[in-house]
């Protein structure tokens, strides 16, 4: 059972990398800052490195949300299995539909659902949940969006050049931001590793604690860290290939300066909160930044409809994954047969979705999730200053 849960957890990590990290590299590929192959490899390596950097978030996941240990309720590997099943399935569904949902919330939703169905409401530490998951989930995108807005304004005002005599616009020469994007998107990938890979480490640690092979309240072991880092890196690498295939179909118009500002805000928001052990959603922070930086550019307006659709998707993630987790927990609760049924059904569902995804055409709508966040901002059509960008795009296609 423990081995099964660990395998499932690593698979979740894989889907996480598959699902999320490509977002970090989508903008620099789009603006032609970095070659697709290099970008994907870089993202994978940085995720690997990021996973080793900090274990604060892992500690939050493994020691807090669900009461474990002697004073709490006994959490079993079965419950964690059910929770993971909910998370993996919801992740696959949203990935297939191209919803910008958060892998982290899917994970928490699944676990909470499974714990409630399997043990009862007392199993969930709602206070920690509120403090470490819900509040950051609400504020992190707002903070990232606000910072991205300010940064975009700043970047544009610092680099806007006018002729001192006539007041005419000079060539703005913001091409330097394209190079900068290589670094900022690398930072985002690194930040993703420090936050998202941690969640799986936390889960595996939770399983090990539940199975009695590890002391309660201790951090993740080294082999767990390595395995998670590898899983998320491989996921990133394979997910990236989908992105590359879709780059031809065109992304939201993101200017290098804007992308630079958005990525800087995303990376700093994630790194700052990882450091304090907030398990926030990379997808949500990135979406917040993209919208914020879009607003920072002149002549933009928000498409509230699209933004609202994204927000509803976020609201649904936790309960939806929770329901799947709860159903699995009930099934698992019936005994070994239930576990086998749940495992086989889950495996079948994942296989079906993978096969289905091969059939359906891959477009930027279902490969780049943050893309829909970008669409929430309407840009004024502008044709100047684009010559460099189009040139760079042309050479790599």
């Amino acid at each position: 059972m423990v081995a099964l849960v660990i395998a499932l957890a690593l698979f979740f990590d894989f889907t996480n990398g598959f699902h999320d990290t490509a977002n970090a590299m989508a903008t620099p590929i789009a603006t032609g800052a970095i070659k697709p192959k290099t970008a994907v490899a870089l993202a994978a390596i940085l995720n690997l490195v990021g996973a080793f950097l900090s274990t604060e978030v892992a500690k939050t996941v493994s020691g807090g949300i669900i009461r474990e240990g002697t004073d709490g309720v006994q959490i079993t590997p079965e419950i964690i299995f059910a929770g993971l099943m909910g998370a993996v399935l919801w992740n696959m569904i949203t990935w297939l539909k191209g919803l910008p949902s958060s892998s982290s919330h899917a994970l928490f939703g699944g676990l909470i659902g499974a714990a409630i169905a399997g043990i009862g409401f007392s199993a969930v530490n709602f206070e920690t949940l509120m403090q470490k998951v819900i509040l950051p989930a609400v504020f992190a995108p707002l903070i990232a969006g606000l910072v991205a807005y300010l940064c975009t304004r700043l970047a544009y005002s610092l680099t806007s050049r006018h002729d001192p005599e006539t007041g005419d616009k000079l060539t703005q020469k913001r091409g330097g931001f394209r190079t900068g994007q290589i670094f900022t998107s690398s930072l985002v990938a690194l930040a993703h590793g420090t936050n998202d890979a941690q969640k799986t480490m936390g889960i595996i640690t939770l399983v090990l604690i539940a199975a009695g092979t590890q002391e309660a309240g201790t951090g993740p072991q080294f082999w767990v860290i390595s395995a998670c880092a590898l899983a998320i890196a491989i996921g990133t690498y394979s997910g990236g290939w989908r992105i590359i295939r879709t780059m031809g179909s065109g992304l939201t118009e993101v200017k290098p300066a804007q992308g630079f500002a958005a990525e800087t805000s995303t990376a700093s928001a994630i790194l700052a909160s990882s450091h304090l052990g907030f398990a926030l959603s990379t997808t949500q922070v990135a979406s917040g930044s993209v919208i914020g930086s879009g607003l920072g550019r002149k002549g933009t307006s928000v498409r509230w409809g699209t933004a609202g659709r994204i927000a509803i998707g976020w609201l649904f993630t936790l309960p939806a994954a929770g329901i799947v987790g709860a159903l699995t927990a009930v099934l698992v609760g019936t005994g070994t047969v239930g576990v086998v049924i749940a495992a086989v059904a889950g495996f079948a569902a994942v296989t079906y979705m993978l096969l289905h995804s091969r059939k359906s055409s891959v477009g930027s709508h279902n490969a780049v999730e943050v893309e829909s966040a970008g669409q929430a901002v309407r840009f004024r059509k502008k044709k100047s200053m684009k010559s460099k960008g189009t040139k760079a795009k042309g050479t790599q296609s």
Binding site: I143, A155, K173, L271, A272
Partner: protein
């Protein structure tokens, strides 16, 4: 509640992002000035641009240094 931590995160995000973006933007701007063909510019502008990029890189590295527990301990 963890309001204080939340404020810390917000503050850290704001400060670090603004520092990086300001330095990098200045670098971009100075590079642009240095590249102007219309007027003869002193070479120092170019070095100043490099200095900005360099400082920006250092700021990022310092941020990472603060975060990585290996150095912090």
């Amino acid at each position: 509640m963890k309001w204080l931590e939340l404020v810390t995160v917000a503050g850290a995000t704001l400060v670090s992002a603004l520092v990086v973006v300001t330095l990098y933007s200045l670098g971009v701007r100075l590079t642009a000035i240095a590249g102007d063909t219309t007027a003869a510019r002193p070479r120092s502008v170019k070095y100043l641009a490099f200095a900005c990029f360099g400082l920006c890189g250092l700021a990022v590295l310092f941020g990472l240094y603060l975060i990585i527990p290996y150095f912090g301990a």
